[in-house]
Amino acid sequence: MNTLVLIWSYFKARPLNTAINILLLALGIAVITVLLLFNNQLEQKISDNSRGIDLVIGAKGSPLQLILCNIFHVDFPTGNITLREADAIAKNRLINTAIPMALGDSYESYRIVGTNHRYTELYRATLSEGAWWKNNLEVTIGSNVAEFSKLKLGDTFASAHGLSQEGHLHNEQLYVVTGVMKKTNGVLDNLILTNVESVWQMHETSGDKETKAVTDASDLRSALIPTVPASDSGREITSLLIKYRSPLAAVQLPRLVNSQTRLQAASPAFETARLFSILGVGIDVLMGFAYVLVFTSALSIFIALYNSLKERRYDMAVMRSMGASRRKLFTSVLAEGVVLTALGSGAGMVMGHGLLIILSILLEQTQKAGITGFIFYREEWVILVGSLLLGVICALIPAWQAYRSDISRVLSTA
């Protein structure tokens, strides 16, 4: 015999009441847990994906779109910039590295990105098989692309224009898979990487295939795409990912770029903060809803304990007659509240994690985003401890009543 056995027997004696209390609390905690997991992972992904990129330079338009498109690959390009303009910027001494990005095509809605190997170094990507792209039309694919599109080493495919699966197919030329990257849990997992030249080649009509021969003089070559001459005014790319050389660049470079009529510079840090402040409203509303649920369940637990204590005042008095001290009754009622909230919050956390796990199994989208339920944050301890405290608070008044009940009076009014 111990307190837990007694408490458990009381729970079992009123199964519906116990179940509804646990369920109410569990729902509240589950919503909080899901939001916590989702929010934290999203923030983590966003900061991981924009790590090492200080500035994105592209065509004028929405700066948020520029960031979403070129860093997170979830929006459409704002337009193109000429290679000549890009080269001019990239040569600036305030810039450490400038990575060219050429977007536009996709395969089964996985975006094809024309870039250089610096881009993979940015995310410290490694190969799981094959090799990095080298020649035109060779691609290295992300792990999710390999998994969901079933592309294998040596496979060839035609790209589609745009991001949708129904886009115009560039049938004339086929890409060939030369490598597959290991999972990075970042944006690379969902990309097909190739060189910029390949993207250009796809979009050249058969008429203008007169790629000018590169002269020996290196100063005439494009700094970004060394295979083409700097003077090639017809070439365009989507954007440049910039890493600053010095903090001074943060002040000067955006102003410099934005002063040019066709270009704009967007800071990932600033734009994602803006994005979060927009998303934050929705998250706050959901959180508020969760707190209402938790508060309701706390009230319900309090009422349940209060009422059941009324029914059990004889139990209490008889227990006193058998030698139980006031303190023992007090702590056993407190324990009852704590066990109830522990069960509720435990169930809620299992539900929260379970929900995300199920989502990530059922929805390809969650999987691609790299959101998982198999992750635990320190904040969850706070939730757990907080709900145990809630149990103590709910049980405090009933426990106090148990503590100061007059056994003699209870027993003589039998």
Partner: protein
Amino acid sequence: MITVLGLSFRYTPSSLMSFPDFTVKRGQHFLLLGESGSGKTTLLHLIGGLLRDYSGSIRIKDVEIETLGEHAMDRFRGQNMGFIFQRNHLINSLTVEQNLMMPSWLSGMPLDNGRITETLESLSIADLRKRKVTQLSQGQAQRVAIGRAIITKPSVILADEPTSALDDKSCENVISLLAEAASLNQSTLLIATHDQRLKEKIPGKIEL
């Protein structure tokens, strides 16, 4: 075993209840007789330490119980006394066996399985051991309540109107069970009652 001397008690400052002096020796069985309102339950609760702040003297096992602090009184009660009430007041959410485990758990006394079996057998309810209390008949529940009072072999068993709600046959059953169980454990038995049927069963009488 129990000595009461010059005992009086006030529920309110204006109401004084006085009790006769008496001494009950170890193993003796006594009735506390009196009409409703004569203070039988009050006396029983005073002896059991459920009511405090009396004037006069109550000594149990040579301990003046007023000198015990509240916590010490709880322990003393748990280790030396067993209570039986008019209604059984078993803990309904527990089984028969768990109800019998309660006194030793709450008073911190050791209990072995053999003692549970022994107690159940002495009351011929060994087959009810795993039964939920809510599934018991009135008579069976009464036996469990007696079992709960005697399982720790208390020196004193205090019974408050154990038979007043029972018919003649059950009354006879309960009182003989109680007397037997008390004798078996050499417990002193004190029964507060106005039930005239008990007068011929129990030799010792204290009139209030």
